[in-house]
């Protein structure tokens, strides 16, 4: 009477471990083709730590800024504040203004985003004495220079119009 039950339980005992083992039938190569998103905020924070401890200077700062400028990316208010503090720490006023200009250029026609960003970092700018692009008057061209590469319209030596 119990023989069938015992036989069945023995079968279960043999089969279940095999089923649970989940040996792969075949293997498929799995590759990440996406390069992922570079974390500029984290890079910014790391660089700030380095600058504060004196291990990095304007060279590394400009390197990061150039990479940021090349990326499809607009820095946030926290990053801009960090960059302003870094410029203050390195005594580079012109770089601070240039960063603000670059942010404005990256915002492009999205004036609302730029105004929002500037409004959020305004206390830091006022504290450090950095004028915004509009305050320093660089939202419009201040001077005109002849283009050094333009040999068709201007004499490269004198700069006068041909």
């Amino acid at each position: 009477m119990f023989r069938t039950v015992i036989t069945a339980s023995k079968t279960v005992q043999r089969v279940v471990p095999i089923l649970l083992k989940q040996t792969p039938i075949g293997s498929i190569g799995c590759r990440k083709y996406s390069i992922g998103i570079y974390d500029y905020l984290q890079a910014n924070k790391d660089l700030m730590k380095k600058i504060d401890s004196g291990k990095a200077d304007g060279y590394e700062l400009r390197k990061l800024l150039t990479e940021m400028q090349g990326a499809d990316y607009i820095p946030g208010s926290e990053e801009i504040e960090n960059l302003m503090n870094a410029c203050r720490k390195l005594n580079d006023f012109s770089l601070a203004v240039r960063v603000l200009e670059a942010v404005k250029w990256k915002c492009g026609t999205d004036a609302a985003l730029y105004n929002k960003l500037i409004a959020s970092v305004k206390p830091t700018l006022d504290k450090l004495g950095i004028p915004t692009v509009d305050q320093i008057g660089y939202e419009k061209p201040e001077y005109w220079y002849p283009d050094a590469d333009d040999v068709h319209n201007y004499d490269p030596e004198t700069g006068k119009e041909l």
Binding site: T66, P141, E142, Y145, H152
Partner: protein
């Protein structure tokens, strides 16, 4: 270009200026290290000896190297997508250095003229000046209109004066004669001219 000299890179300006050909520069780097003391703020090029300047600064003059160059040489360019050139725009004259010393103080005490001068010492053009329209398209349009206008005049002149009259074979008389011959010879009978001619009545089909 970006190969750094981490062990000996104490003062960034000189070691990085030399970083283009790092393997040959071990002696020069040690010499610079002996000359200058460590500082984490902006590089002070006045502490570099004249011999090294003559050796490595023939192109950029007495200018600070402040960042990595995107090209092989440390030169100045104003482009919106690479707005941080490797060298400062202004040479380190006495006025520039005096203003830079003042920059180390509080920036709130600087006047707007001094701030603008500080900017111009580092950079030649602002973004607005870089992106300002040049108006050179007008000159291009002038050239295009000149070429197109002269072409039209040339064509008109030749078609009115220099083109000879049509050949005799194109006169109406010979054209009808040719057509008549084609009809008589039965050319293109299915879809051609002869299919439209009634040969029994000897006239055109209606």
């Amino acid at each position: 270009m970006l190969s750094r000299i981490p062990a000996k890179a104490v003062v960034h300006i000189n070691t990085r200026a030399l970083s283009q050909s790092a393997p040959r520069l071990t002696t020069a780097v040690t010499r610079v290290d002996a000359l200058v003391e460590k500082s984490t703020s902006q590089p002070d090029s006045s502490k570099i000896s004249q011999a090294i300047k003559d050796l490595w600064y023939p192109q950029i003059g007495n200018r600070d190297i402040v960042g990595p160059s995107i090209w092989t040489s440390h030169d100045y360019h104003d482009t919106p997508d690479q707005p941080y050139p490797a060298v400062r725009f202004a040479e380190n004259t006495s006025e520039v250095l005096a203003l830079r010393a003042k920059e180390k103080g509080d920036w709130n005490s600087l006047t707007m003229e001094e701030k603008k001068q500080l900017y111009r010492n580092s950079f030649r053009q602002t973004f607005a000046e870089m992106n300002a329209p040049t108006g050179s398209y007008k000159r291009i349009f002038i050239h295009v209109f000149y070429i197109v206008g002269f072409s039209i005049l040339y064509q008109l002149y030749f078609s009115l004066t220099c083109v000879p009259p049509k050949a005799r074979a194109y006169s109406e008389e010979i054209e009808t004669g040719r057509m008549q011959r084609m009809v008589m010879m039965g050319m293109n009978p299915v879809a051609g001219l002869a299919s439209k001619y009634d040969y029994e009545k000897n006239e055109w089909k209606k």
